[in-house]
Symmetry: C2
Subunit: 533 residues, 2 copies
């Protein structure tokens, strides 16, 4: 399967002739063929205009139709076989076993959204039948459901070349909602993106959807990104990446004549608290689990625990020692790109250069910069130093964590109170610890999107109850998750139909309930048909 290096715009290959770029194998430094051609702003705009046309069709397609499309997409991705895995491996340096798992997750979430839209009750259908004889005024027949917002621009992430990229969670949830998708491919894995986009386009064609249901755009820099956000046809934006880039997209969207929502998942240090009882009871186990969690994927997860708070006590030193031992024994790993490694070293350096931040341990293995490697490391400091230096609460995206030692519970609480919005927060405690930690847990609930007890935050399950999102700066819109079935709610808005003749209503709202949805009728959930309406 040879790559053409072109954007895929509403089923058509993009133009050549502009700027080109190559992917690089981070594990070898090798330049990977072919050259990729950046799309022009005109091409990108045309793809969005075509997507707006496609939306008119997509938004009224049945859930069954959309489910078939999502399932066909999953099958086409699987059909790419090892070609996809090999290219992703070359472009990202991620191990094949990880990529195999990530492909499973990618296809799994496409199929999960297929289930959701085939079942259909997610549209939150609400029916208040007419009350023609009500006094003092009759009530008109009112029926409401959620409908697709319009074309969604998705920015592929660096760290999930499959599960949060060309056919990732944003794409799956937007298509499920009935929104056409225009993906801006991440420049670090353009070949992976092309393969996936080609597979998706095959599914689009096979299922009889308009070609502009899905487009993939190659390009770079902020100009194209901002142009995509500003384009009048764009109705919403999904993004996973840095705070700087996410905020720039958010600002551009808010400044539009007609503002649109931006779902940017940006930065989180994912604080982890180890309470005194747990430290004594199983400090060594926690240290090992922490090592595994903060070095997973070479620390390149948005849920990586980057801050660990412990209370000074008889077991603190032993815990630090165990953690140091584990870190020293940990291997180095190839990071996704040279730029990510540089940023990691810089951000880690800003943290470790603060006075009273002491290095605790680093991997004993030789680190190979020419393989884009970084070594796991951990540093430690006091709560007082942490509270006095806001930089210590910033994210260093890579295999590093900072252990903050508090003198007492009051200091630990002060640290918790100082935290900004987070994707996750974690507490390790014995039942007695937890019983005494009510106000800490309550604080973490207010600051984080997901609170974990006696576990680790990495490993984000794709399921109905997941919440991957949190107060700013973790995300730009804390009201929504980007992982799990509720992610579909980002790309819809309610429409109310008043006094519609039954046959003109969407099937979801018709009296007979032909789709068998769970609906709110007169305020009561039911799958029964509406009678006498």
């Amino acid at each position: 399967m040879s790559l053409h290096g072109l954007s895929l715009l509403a089923g058509q290959p993009g133009q050549t002739g502009g700027t080109t770029f190559h992917a690089t194998n981070p594990a070898t430094g090798e330049r990977l063929e072919p050259a990729f051609h950046e799309a022009s702003l005109a091409e990108a705009g045309a793809a969005l205009d075509a997507a707006a046309e496609a939306w008119v069709d997509l938004r009224t397609r049945s859930g069954a139709d959309r489910a078939r499309l999502l399932e066909a997409m999953a099958a086409e991705i699987e059909e790419l076989g090892d070609t996809l895995l090999q290219r992703a491996h070359a472009e990202t340096g991620l191990p094949l076993v990880r990529l195999t798992g990530e492909r499973g997750r990618t296809c799994g979430q496409l199929r999960l959204f297929a289930q959701v839209v085939r079942e259909g009750s997610w549209v939150d259908a609400r029916i208040d039948p007419a009350l023609p004889t009500r006094q003092p005024l009759p009530r008109a027949d009112l029926r409401r459901m959620l409908t697709a917002l319009g074309p969604v621009v998705v920015f592929g992430s660096s760290n999930f070349p499959l599960a949060f990229s060309a056919a990732g969670g944003d794409t799956a949830s937007a298509l499920a909602a009935g929104c056409p998708v225009v993906v801006k491919a991440h420049r670090a894995h353009p070949g992976t993106a092309e393969l996936v986009a080609t597979a998706l386009q095959r599914a689009v064609a096979a299922c009889g959807f308009p070609p502009a249901t899905y487009s993939l755009i190659h390009g770079g820099g902020s100009t194209l990104g901002i142009a995509l956000v500003r384009h009048p046809a764009t109705a919403a934006v999904g993004f996973t990446g840095s705070h700087t880039a996410g905020r720039a997209l958010f600002d551009a969207a808010a400044a539009r004549p007609h503002p649109i929502p931006v779902f940017a998942e940006m930065s989180s240090v994912n604080p982890l608290f180890v309470l005194a009882g747990a430290l004594g009871e199983r400090g060594a186990t926690i240290a090992q689990g922490l090592l595994t969690s903060f070095t997973l994927g070479v620390g390149q997860f948005c849920t990586k625990p980057g801050l660990v708070f412990v209370q000074r006590g008889p077991d603190t030193e032993a815990f630090l020692q165990k953690l140091a031992d584990a870190v020293r024994a940990a291997p180095c790993g190839t990071m996704l790109t040279h730029g990510i490694r540089e940023a990691f070293l810089e951000n880690r350096g800003r943290i470790t250069s603060v006075a009273d931040v002491r290095p605790l341990a680093a991997s004993a293995a030789t680190v190979h910069p020419e393989r884009t490697e970084a070594e796991p490391s951990v540093a430690t400091t006091s709560a007082r130093t942490f509270l006095a230096n806001p930089v210590l609460a910033t994210e260093a995206f890579g295999p590093f964590t900072l252990v903050v030692v508090a003198d007492d519970m009051a200091e630990l609480s002060a640290c918790a109170a100082s935290l900004e919005g987070q994707l996750t927060a974690t507490v390790h405690g014995t039942p007695a610890d937890l019983a005494a930690a009510g106000s800490l847990l309550a604080r973490l609930e207010r600051v984080a999107g997901r609170v974990v007890i006696n576990g680790f935050p990495t490993g984000v399950e794709v399921c109905p109850a997941m919440n991957h999102g949190g107060p700013y700066p973790a995300t730009t819109d804390t009201r929504f998750t980007s992982v799990g079935t509720a992610a579909i709610l980002r790309f819809v808005r309610p429409v109310c139909y008043q006094s519609y003749p039954d046959p003109l209503l969407p099937a979801a709202l018709q009296n007979a309930n032909p789709l068998g949805l769970l609906r709110l009728v007169d305020g009561k959930p039911t799958r029964d048909p509406v009678v006498h309406a």
Copy 2:
């Protein structure tokens, strides 16, 4: 019951000594006592800080507790009796019968939200129990529910002194969600706001909620409003009013270091299409209904139909004649304020001064400017003129509507295609008309929040299926309604609890389902307890 003219800040009266203002009776021009004292920015900030403290308590109060508070608020408002109605009548010029109805709606929506939170399933509880033996990886126990965002700033509207003001829909839905509320009272009815706020504060005290659960602030100009939006403790904003003011609040919120959502309901012309068959079959009835709708409340409803599209045909002239007759026979009415009347005359003038816009009729009654009166009027123009002059699609908030006559269905469609976001859109048609109008209806669904068939858009039912919101510029966030039970969803975000011991979970998520909620367990809706978890 005498008014003190002070803000009510976390249960305490505000300071005197700053700028004061008076309300004016628009029907007489009389200055109404007492003087109202504008709150300082420091006072407003302190109220928000106190609200943030109160939130820590409120967010975990049971639905039953919050329901009792909302019901006590409704009872206390009713307890104000005629005093409230008389003051509102004096401040707004609205007839007592209207205000009596609006009080019913106000107390009704407080009680409706009480029902919603007492029943409790609105929190969208989702439980995915642990799968410890799943391969290749176990699944942790994951439970998610919606929780309160934080303090909400509400800007009272001019045109609903009760139902969208101190204790209006924004206040009711925010309190129901568990968010403390700080209301910026509208300057046109400060005495009404004080009476209501005093009643609410009595309910807060009686129900044992923190005094900062509710505050009312008097003030003016954009400085205070922007300061309220920028205050770090503010988590969300509800607003009903002009596009200029709403956009300014939105921009301020988006420019915050930590952006927050603004739910501004701003402007809508609520296009109404009369198709040819309906025009022939019941043009006179439609003309009469249209007159009633666009002059209701002296045209001061956000759902007032301000644009009417008809197709030129044998029945068009008769329809226009009937409408003209009805308008000529309609009485003049007192508008809410001198400023609103001035803005109405100016905006109507901008529309009627466009070349080829012809006056069709105006009320034959004498208009009394000293009573702040405006006369119902209607003008007409061609679709060609409409399409060439975007000003004709702007809102004139008052008793005026513009009838646009299209030469054919293609022109009608072009008009529909040119429309910006709307709260509502309406179509009158016979079954045959409607059967042929699929693409028009589909277009209106995409542009409006509520589509009405063979009815009129004024009269917004407060119920589960209502949607009062629409694409920009109708509102700043088309994903949410400001009327009906779904309005509570504006003020919440999901929190996911991972691997929590059952007793530490919120009641909504505990295994036994002690609240009896409808929950999504393993993706399936059920009220059953969770077993073996």
